[in-house]
């Protein structure tokens, strides 16, 4: 029985766990940036700027720049917010894919460990 492979499978799980934690943290940071940039916009709660900020990011991104400026929003800040949002979405998709790979790797590692124990190799 090739026990080196069993060790490699364990290493794969640990590498994926580390990668998963890193991606999840980066996604969290981008989401936090979106919230911070949104909060930094000094808007009247009943004004047009608040209405624009209440839009889904995809809708907000579709608005012409002049509408954003006309509502009294800081264009650069809105663009940063949208960039952070897109990055958070991309990382979230990456996190989900990693989660599946990690789960698969854990399952296989566990099955191989059980097999090796049953065969008395451990």
């Amino acid at each position: 029985m090739n026990l080196d492979k069993l060790t490699n499978l364990g290493d794969d799980v640990r590498r994926l766990e580390a990668e998963y934690r890193q991606v999840a943290e980066r996604a969290r940071q981008h989401r936090s940036d979106v919230s911070r940039l949104r909060a930094e916009q000094d808007t009247d709660p009943d004004g047009p700027a608040s209405q624009l900020l209440a839009l889904a990011p995809a809708e907000l991104g579709q608005l012409p720049e002049k509408d954003i400026k006309a509502a009294g929003l800081n264009l650069r800040s809105v663009q940063s917010m949208l960039t952070a949002h897109r990055a958070a979405e991309r990382l979230e998709a990456e996190r989900l894919a990693l989660s599946k790979r990690l789960q698969d790797a854990r399952i296989l590692h566990e099955r191989c460990l059980t097999y090796a124990r049953q065969k008395g190799a451990l």
């Binding site: 029985m1 090739n2 026990l3 492979k5 069993l6 499978l9 790979r101 789960q103 698969d104 790797a105 399952i107 296989l108 099955r111 191989c112 059980t114 097999y115 090796a116």
Partner: protein, 146 residues
């Protein structure tokens, strides 16, 4: 065959193996079972109907909800109900005869062994080339750790 094609073939063979192992009854067997059931219902219903006709007051069609199938088969006639069941069972495939099933199962197992070993060799080669590749979670440990 590349890795994706190998895995598709493995997945198809695993499905075929499950179906062969499950030994689901085929059309003829289901038809025989249905015929026995219908004959039983018809006989039970005939006796109940007769008892209802001979009772005072006469009440041949008095039946609780759970006795309705019995009454239905008796009134429609066993042959008509059997024909309706045969019609429905026409969609079911015939079961593979036992010797053929065993032969095919052995062929599937042999092909699965070969393909899963090919898959593991391919994964090891790709990893050695520094490419990122994941194993299937249902890969067989005896092959992975070989």
């Amino acid at each position: 065959m590349n890795l994706d094609q190998l895995r598709q073939r493995i997945c198809a063979l695993q499905g075929e193996r499950r179906a062969l192992s499950a030994r689901t009854p085929g059309r003829s067997e289901l038809q025989s079972r249905a015929d026995v059931l219908v004959d039983h219902l018809a006989e039970t219903g005939r006796r109940r109907l007769l008892a209802g006709l001979q009772s005072t007051p006469m009440s041949p069609l008095n039946a609780s909800a759970d006795q309705m199938p019995v009454l239905l088969v008796t009134l429609l006639g066993a042959e008509r109900v059997k024909a309706a069941f045969r019609d429905v069972l026409g969609d079911v495939a015939e079961a593979i005869p036992e010797p053929e099933r065993r032969t095919r199962l052995a062929e599937v197992d042999a092909e699965l062994d070969r393909l899963e070993r090919d898959e593991e060799s391919m994964i090891c080669r790709m990893m050695a080339e520094g490419r990122q590749v994941s194993r299937r979670p249902d890969a067989r440990p005896e092959i992975v750790l070989e």
